[in-house]
């Protein structure tokens, strides 16, 4: 009875609070939606244009809702559009990027894991200094290394080759992967390593049997980071390779520069999307772990 009576009473304060709550929510979601739109509208425009006919784009302008739907632009962009005189589309460059990004990502991540393992669990005299030096690489913009790399790749005979770019990206990426893994491994209790040493396990066995099985969260973060970073990288690609050897980022720019006639906005849009798909896919597959891995500190 008393409870019913209490429920019937009008609580002015609570009502005011819930009204305030509603308007605060409304404002927050409004602002968030606005900013999300700023990010999403350009993507939407590109997606639409990749399916529109060139004439329709010319007629109605770049930004407008599609009235036609066709896949020709995607096919052209993939296999037959002419870039700098070669009419093979983006296909070759796409695979260049893939064969560059996958090995570079795997190698740099593995090296980062091993480095991180050594720098967190097998410290030696000067290991902190070494780590600080490696950290400098995180803050160093890539263009600083452009000249030295040109020299090194020239000496190694790896100019204008995917292998050269793999080497560049592995080395350039190591400071990041090492930083990620080392900080994550610091959260793994040293006692585990000590117990394993008493159990007779050596450096590699501890790495394989104890460290690596604990590593998936940070390895996923590192792989996403490296994959998107290397895939989207432009500067090294455009400087060290040309023509058929170029990764897709460099080819995209070549595509826009090669237009002698009217610009094929439909094909460009499709090409850009082809170039953007792999990192998007990677993020969709691993994004959940990416956010979790970045926020998760220690292993309980």
């Amino acid at each position: 009875m008393a409870e019913q009576a209490a429920a019937l009473l009008f609580d002015a304060e609570a009502a005011a609070a819930s009204r305030r709550h509603f308007w605060t929510r409304f404002a927050i979601y409004g602002v968030l939606t606005f900013f999300a739109a700023i990010y999403l509208v350009p993507l939407l425009v590109v997606v639409f244009n990749s399916f529109r006919e060139q004439e329709e784009i010319a007629r109605n302008g770049l930004i407008s809702l599609p009235q036609t739907f066709r896949l020709d632009a995607w096919r052209d962009a993939w296999s037959s559009y002419c870039i700098a005189g070669t009419c093979e589309g983006m296909k070759r460059n796409f695979f260049n990027s893939l064969w560059m990004t996958i090995p570079a990502t795997i190698i740099s991540t593995l090296l980062g894991a091993i480095n991180g393992y050594v720098l967190s669990k097998w410290r030696f005299k000067g290991s902190e200094v070494l780590f600080t030096c490696m950290l400098l690489g995180v803050f160093m913009p890539g263009q600083i290394a452009l000249m030295p790399w040109a020299f090194v790749l020239g000496k190694l005979g790896l100019t204008n080759s995917t292998y050269g770019l793999i080497l560049v990206h592995v080395i350039q990426g190591i400071s990041f992967t090492t930083l990620f893994c080392r900080n994550y491994y610091l959260g793994i209790p040293d006692d585990l390593i000590k117990a394993a040493r008493i159990d007779g396990a050596g450096f590699w066995r501890i790495f394989r049997k104890i460290i690596l099985p604990l590593s998936p969260p940070i390895l996923i973060v590192t792989v996403i980071w490296q994959f998107t970073g290397i895939w989207n990288e432009y500067l090294f690609g455009v400087v060290f390779t040309s023509g058929q050897q170029q990764p897709i980022t460099a080819a995209l720019v070549a595509l826009t520069a090669s237009g002698t006639t009217a610009r094929a906005y439909d094909v460009m849009s499709a090409s850009v999307l082809i170039g953007a798909l792999p990192p998007l896919l990677i993020y969709l597959l691993g994004g959940k772990y990416f956010v979790r891995g970045l926020t998760q500190g220690a292993i309980k």
């Binding site: 006692d191 040493r197 007779g200 049997k209 104890i210 099985p213």
Partner: protein, 373 residues
């Protein structure tokens, strides 16, 4: 030399320093085969470092560590034939209990059939058979503790090392596991070195205790000796709870019988006759060490039974009943002295009671050197 029997563990003049900081300053210890040794001391005394050095996880700055008849100074941990239980248990989180237990054998290439037998034996011993396929994250604290011990036991090593294995357990479980470790040691009979900061654990488990402080062993002796004849004021104060009372006193040799004079309330003083002969070359000012349980409510028939009893009057400041016993804070001059009484004879607050101090059990210390006289 051939007839010489080796101790299970011998530590000779071991030093350890990290840079300029000396952590261990000349440690000498030995353990007989099958013995249970406790290293006890406050945090930072170097006990865990010493254990890590026995295990081979820390290098030795100077000195020698022998396990059995083998000098192990530069032997890596895996070849020392030791097993260790860590405070954090250090169970491999991605492996099942079974894999945790077999990891060491796996590393050493023990055949699978032998591994299975060993797991069966240890799991039965520790009653962890139902847990074998679980991951450490699915176990309670006590279960993890058992698995950690199982991982050590499966090795059948020369030496067991325990690094504060019970400090992560709650109070009740800790007492249970303590009993269990003792039973286990009685059954397995392996030489054990056990590090703890808990003096009760050390007293209950160990046959001999090494009390450490500031990087050196203060006393290494049988548990009862450590308790009743502590080598110095640090050991006396560290072992026992509530701690031993330290009462400044003056030696007097009048009337043919040595006595100590202590201050009582209201500027008075009392002479307490010593039970033993006065040590030679004792300073005039000494510190009288009395354990709380050696203070009684004075009565004539108690004196009949305890001839060393000396009477002194003191007011009662505070009474703390714990059930089994009652602690009371007594005032000696401006000093607070804790007494431990049977609830039947417990004092009341405000009472000025006549106390009997068992001088036969009391210790005298030199205030300058802090050591036992």
């Amino acid at each position: 030399m051939t007839s010489r029997t080796f101790s299970a563990l011998t530590i000779r003049n071991v030093h350890k320093s990290f840079g300029a900081v000396g952590v261990l300053k000349g440690i000498d210890l030995e353990a007989q085969p099958g013995e249970f040794i406790a290293l006890v001391g406050p945090s930072g005394c170097g006990k865990s470092t010493l254990l890590a050095m026995i295990a081979g996880l820390e290098s030795i700055s100077s000195g020698e560590i022998w396990i059995g008849d083998r000098l192990v100074n530069s032997v890596p941990p895996k070849d020392r034939d030791i097993a260790m239980v860590f405070q954090s248990y250090a169970l491999y989180p991605t492996m099942t209990v079974r894999e945790n237990i077999t990891f060491g054998m796996e590393s050493r290439g023990v055949p699978k059939a032998e591994q299975a037998d060993a797991v069966k034996r240890v799991a039965a011993l520790l009653q962890i058979e139902p847990l074998l396929n679980r991951k450490p994250g699915q176990l309670s604290g006590g279960q993890r503790q058992r698995v950690a011990m199982g991982r050590a036991l499966v090795r059948d090593p020369k030496l067991f090392l325990f690094d504060e294995p019970l400090s992560n357990l709650d109070a009740k479980l800790r007492v249970d596991m303590r009993t269990e470790i003792k039973k286990l040691h009685n059954r397995v009979g392996k030489t054990t070195v056990y590090v703890t900061h808990d003096q009760v654990e050390a007293m209950t488990l160990a046959s001999r205790i090494a009390v450490m402080h500031q990087g050196s062993v203060q006393q290494f002796d049988a548990a009862q000796t450590i308790y009743s004849r502590p080598a110095n004021m640090f050991v006396a104060g560290f072992m026992g709870s509530p701690a031993m009372n330290f009462i400044p006193a003056e030696l007097s040799d009048g009337e043919g019988r040595a006595a100590v004079t202590i201050r009582t309330v209201n500027g008075g003083s009392a002479a307490l006759p010593l039970a033993q002969a006065l040590p030679t070359r004792a300073p005039k000012n000494v510190v009288l060490g009395v354990r709380p349980e050696h203070i009684y409510r004075f009565s004539d028939d108690l004196r009949q039974r305890k001839p060393g009893l000396a009477a002194v009057q003191a007011p009662v400041d505070l009474v703390e009943p714990t059930g089994a016993e009652t602690l009371a804070v007594l005032r000696f001059g401006d000093l607070e002295v804790t007494g431990r009484f049977d609830p039947d004879t417990a004092p009341r607050v405000g009472e000025t009671m006549t106390l009997g101090i068992d001088m036969a059990r009391a210790c005298l210390f030199d205030p300058a050197t802090q050591s036992l006289l």
